[in-house]
Amino acid sequence: MKKSKVFWSYLALALVIYAVVQFLISGNMVSYASQNMLITMCINIMLAVSLHVVIGITGQFSIGHAGFLAVGAYISAICTMKFGMPFVTAILIGAVVSALAGLLVGIPSLRLKGDYLAIATLGFAEIIRIVFVNIDYVGGAAGMQVTHQSTWTYAFFGVFITILVISNFTKSRHGRACIAVREDEIAADAMGINTTYYKVIAFTIGSFFAGVAGAIYAHNFYIIQPTAFGFLKSFDILIFVVLGGLGSLSGSVIAAIFLTAISTYLQGFPETRMIIYSLVLILVMLYRPTGLMGTKEITHLFKFGKKGGTRI
């Protein structure tokens, strides 16, 4: 198939999914709880895909993604609640500020490698959280009230644009440079790739979409509290990416859908949920360290008979 044809068929598929669910929602055929689960799923997909750019594509191990989620959530909440802006503008502002935060964090910390980067991003996320705890303007530790404005439409188009941008980014020349950085940073540097530049780009894009997710998250739950953006949230997002496969976009999407569904059903038993989560994490790492999908995409499964090296 020609590339454009593939693109249009995906677009059609996405619109069909949207239309069917929207039809069900307007026909009151989806319960409130399932509707909420759908929006949570979309938020988690956005988070997983945005972290996927940083960890999966660029190979930078960031474990502070909840920090950018928090920035997006709080900034957009301030925009709608304090300044009365429309929701779409608030999402955009939240995302842009979150991207700026990503830039700010990325420039100094991306000179670090591996474990050090991981712990530094964790530290930055924690600093962001503590800053929100200490600002009385946004309610401090008690949290901030936000009206419910997230609907399936917002959530779906958030996911749609996230996946569209990130899959195109991956296929672009910049994306390939990022993959080169992931595979071997020193070799990429030797080939003339400006590694720091690409790492910061990936980090900024990742935090931008985490900001979008944050805006939708904030307007879905009536109240946002700094405690919701701690280590655990970061690890939750990390689990989506790791379980799906480091380097597989569709893998992270599938893992996000699957784990959100599971955790919704296990909501009454939070301990059990975390025990299952951690066991899955350990077992996957021990027996399949590349994650369930590896670096493959789901579309590769349908291409029978095509021989050749694994494509990215």
Binding site: P108, G114, I119, I127, A190, F235, M274, I275, I282, P289
Partner: protein, 291 residues
Amino acid sequence: MEWIQQLVNGISLGSIYALIALGYTMVYGIIKLINFAHGDVFMLGAFIGFYAIARWEMNVFLALILAMILCAVIGVIIERVAYKRLRNATRIAALITAIGVSLLIEYTVIFFRGASPSAYPTIFETSNFEILGVKISTQSILILSVSIFLMILLQFIVHKTKIGKAMRAVSHDADAARLMGINVDNTISATFAIGSALAGAAGVIFGIYYTRIDPLMGVLPGIKAFIAAVLGGIGIIPGAMVGGLVLGVVETIVSALGYSLWRDAAAFVILILILIIRPSGIFGKNAREKV
């Protein structure tokens, strides 16, 4: 006098961090893994001490030794079950496994006893000594003497015994050590055992000093101890001690200045500054990466 008082508090807190940081730094030095589960071994140590003192009515020192032994066993089990297979895997895989083990320990404890905090039993009535107008509680003295004793013991083990020599050799070059006939697996297990025992001791001391323990208490001290290890230069044992003390004192000063809500942020700011300015830590030497 107020300041010296704060300094004493800071050193007490810092020596707890230092004890945990020693385990981090030893493990990192030997297998290059941030053992996220280390903070949870600290938590388990606190709970073992709690049950030993409150339920089984043990002497404090017996409880301390029991906690150290059990934590050493737990540390070795964690290493054998979760980390051993990953010795040649990517660093990210090992780090994620460590996070997984950490979450598993935390939520298994919550599953069995609930997330509510427990109050540590009072070991002895707090009495304060006055030295030059500075009040020093018996608890502080206990903490300090136990930590100093353990640190001296560790220095002795690392520098004077056979297993210490093996540990130093493996951390220098594991392959060469293996060629020289050192059993690398056993050495790594011994490192985990010693590090976890120190974390267990730190847990009991923490419980005695702060009197409040809960299943998630290991997370923040664990990360701060790691910061202490990085601050001193990861892999360097005296560095971990100094880093722990510095971090404890800085945190206490930040609290004393009236910014107690920012206390945790201070540790992370220190971490980021040290990583940017001097990634090899106070005592570390800069090594350039070669192709």
